[in-house]
């Protein structure tokens, strides 16, 4: 056997476990989901078929269609706010916090990760309520005449999400920042750049891979999340995952739930395609 053939076989053997894993736990279940999305519910029976009725309904039924837009709007706002908050935080930790305190600062930044996601969301429900800490403080300080409603609104959902995703983004951006040689900034300053110009024209572009990776992860996790909008949003509008759960939990409409899930997958794929050029993990 030639060395080339031997290497090919070794390569195939090394790749095989990952390939089988992907096939067994992604490709086959996904194909099953697509097949299910082409079936439909007749009365309470699932009838196998090959029609696009469920997809047609998603884009013609105002309630289902709105779910897509609600999800996209919330996800876009959360991603933008999280990036705007996480970048300065990561930059401060990477450049302004003394090296011996950095680990502690990072630890504090990601501390909320240690709490259960559900518990954290319910905690926010208590904090954001009309008799919660935030409203009590604002009314007590005289900044508000009376409490305003945050809980059970889209704002509450966004706050809950941002709290979580700022931590995630801080990590990805920090790991990018810490790899940058300080010589880039020094060189720019030597050439007459102000501190702001150094950040805007040198540091920021070099951290784009970290920002985009974190933003993509935020997008994917946020648009597919069911718990936060369910607990904090007050069911006053439904996101795609909530609509999926409604089909499963209430109607037993697995075909429609599958079709909505496929739409969700397509949205995530499009998001990946849009920022694929920056998603090079080795640069993060």
């Amino acid at each position: 056997m030639s060395i080339e053939k031997q290497e090919k076989r070794q390569g195939a053997a090394l790749v095989a476990p990952a390939l089988l894993w992907t096939l067994g736990f992604f490709a086959i279940p996904f194909a099953a989901m697509v097949m299910m999305s082409l079936a439909h519910l007749e009365g309470r029976e699932i009838v196998q078929g090959h029609d696009l009725g469920n997809y047609l309904r998603i884009f013609t039924d105002p309630s289902l269609r709105r779910g897509i837009f609600v999800s996209l709007e919330i996800t876009a706002v959360v991603t933008v706010i999280s990036v705007l908050l996480a970048w300065p935080l990561a930059w401060i930790i990477a450049t302004r916090v003394p090296a011996r305190w950095r680990r502690m600062a990072l630890l504090l930044a990601v501390l909320p990760f240690w709490t259960s996601y559900v518990v954290r969301s319910y905690s926010w429900a208590l904090v954001l309520g009309e008799k919660g800490v935030v409203m009590n403080a604002l009314v007590g300080l005289g900044l508000l005449a009376e409490p305003v409603q945050i809980m059970a609104t889209r704002s509450a959902t966004i706050i809950g999400f941002v709290h979580f995703f700022v931590m995630l983004l801080t990590l990805t951006i920090y790991s990018n920042l810490i790899q940058l040689s300080p010589n880039y900034a020094r060189a720019a300053e030597d050439l007459g750049a102000s501190r702001w110009q150094v950040i805007r024209l040198v540091i920021l572009p070099l951290t784009l891979p970290g920002v985009m990776t974190g933003a993509f992860l935020t997008f994917v996790l946020c648009i597919g999340d069911y718990i936060t909008p369910q607990i904090l949003g007050g069911n006053n509008e439904l996101t795609l995952p909530q609509l999926i759960m409604l089909q499963l939990g209430r109607r037993g409409d697995f075909p429609m739930a599958s079709a909505l899930s496929v739409v969700l997958m397509v949205i995530v794929t499009l998001a990946y395609a849009a920022c694929a050029r920056w998603l090079k993990m080795e640069r993060v």
């Binding site: 009365g43 309470r44 105002p62 309630s63 289902l64 709105r66 779910g67 319910y122 429900a125 208590l126 309520g129 009309e130 008799k131 919660g132 409603q149 809980m151 059970a152 607990i231 007050g234 069911n235 006053n236 509008e237 439904l238 609509l243 409604l246 499963l248 939990g249 209430r250 109607r251 037993g252 697995f254």
Partner: protein
């Protein structure tokens, strides 16, 4: 140290052996049956382990059963009014009625019309209660709560939560519009669309059991339409101001029943479980389950419940309440789909 290790290994081995010996009973349930205080006496008495899976809504429960293999499930909790739907699809096994005596039951809670099909009994009711109005009497005028009109009057706008279950709430909106739950068909849904949307506009949130309890307990809302003793009783110790009533227009009677799933390989054990749950002791434990309280179908549980527990359950008021309550709507598949579409529209607008 070695002794300690040996003891640990023996203990673990003994535990595994015990687990291996213990029989399993698989139950498709509502959350009140997941309470260890309820299950433990049965598990110990019969040396079995009760594995539970919670589900929400009959449609989801029936779908779960249909997608399972025969023998996967042994017993099932189901809305008494939906027993016929399950029997129609061949999902429930006949019960030996002679072994399940309901003579000590509240007569209105037996619901034999729904649990007995063509002379064969398929389920036995175990717990009932009301979907009506729950409120914080320190924050609202209790007199207002005697009439559903108050929720549409504007006085309580922004202070109302809606219980996130379409059947009872659509039923209550129907009662407000003068439509009996039994008449809530597709045409009637058009009539209640507008009042439902108005109610949604006046409400602050639409929430599940935990969300509703949290909202009432924290003062986030003062009124919950669709609530009842099942929601306020568990919060009574924390806040005695949380109360409930059945308004002039009436309330909805919910009644859950227990059935043996067709195809079970342990019919005797399943029957023993039903006997335990419907016994006075099982009924008292189920009535005061940690997830939610409700009236026991078997009056004999009154001998086991404390006076305080009975007061919270409004034991003495039951004859009046039962006379004024209507059963859940029992929609056919198409009406059920139309109801859920209406509910989704309400949530999304």
């Amino acid at each position: 140290m070695a002794l300690k290790h040996t003891c640990s290994i023996l203990a673990v081995t003994a535990g595994l052996a015990s687990a291996a010996q213990a029989e399993d009973l698989n139950a498709l349930i509502w959350c009140d049956h997941a309470d260890p205080e309820l299950l433990q006496p049965f598990e110990e008495a019969h040396d079995v382990r009760v594995n539970v899976k919670e589900y929400e809504g009959t449609a989801a429960g029936l779908t779960l059963l249909e997608q399972s293999r025969p023998g996967d499930w042994d017993v099932m909790v189901i809305d008494a009014v939906d027993v016929g739907r399950a029997v129609e699809r061949g999902l429930l096994a006949p019960l030996p009625a002679d072994q399940l005596n309901t003579s000590s039951y509240f007569p209105e809670a037996v619901l034999a019309d729904h649990t007995t099909i063509d002379g064969t009994s398929y389920a036995v009711t175990e717990k009932f209660g009301y979907n009506t109005i729950a409120y914080n009497k320190a924050a609202v005028d209790p007199a207002d709560m005697q009439n559903l009109d108050a929720l549409w009057s504007g006085k309580y706008d922004g202070r109302i939560a809606i219980y996130d279950y379409y059947l009872p709430v659509l039923g209550l909106v129907g009662l407000e519009a003068g439509i009996k739950t039994a008449d809530l068909d597709a045409a009637a849904l058009d009539t209640i669309r507008e009042p439902l949307m108005k109610l949604n506009a006046a409400s602050k949130q639409v929430s599940d059991v935990v969300g509703s309890q949290t909202a009432l307990a924290t003062g986030e809302v003062d009124v919950l339409i669709g609530g009842g003793e099942w929601l306020t009783a568990v919060l009574n110790a924390e806040n005695p101001d949380l109360d409930w009533t059945i308004p002039e227009q009436g309330g909805l009677l919910w009644a859950q029943s227990l059935a043996i799933v067709e195809g079970t390989e342990k019919p005797e054990l399943a029957l023993e479980f039903i006997k335990y749950i419907t016994s006075p002791e099982g009924q008292a434990r189920l009535a005061t389950s940690s997830c939610y309280w409700g009236m026991p179908a078997n009056k004999a549980a009154g001998d086991v419940l404390t006076d305080e527990q009975k007061a919270i359950l409004r034991w003495d008021d039951q004859p009046d309440y039962l006379a004024r309550a209507q059963l859940y709507p029992v929609p056919d598949a198409d009406t059920d789909a139309a109801m859920q579409d209406l509910w989704t529209d309400m949530l999304q607008n």
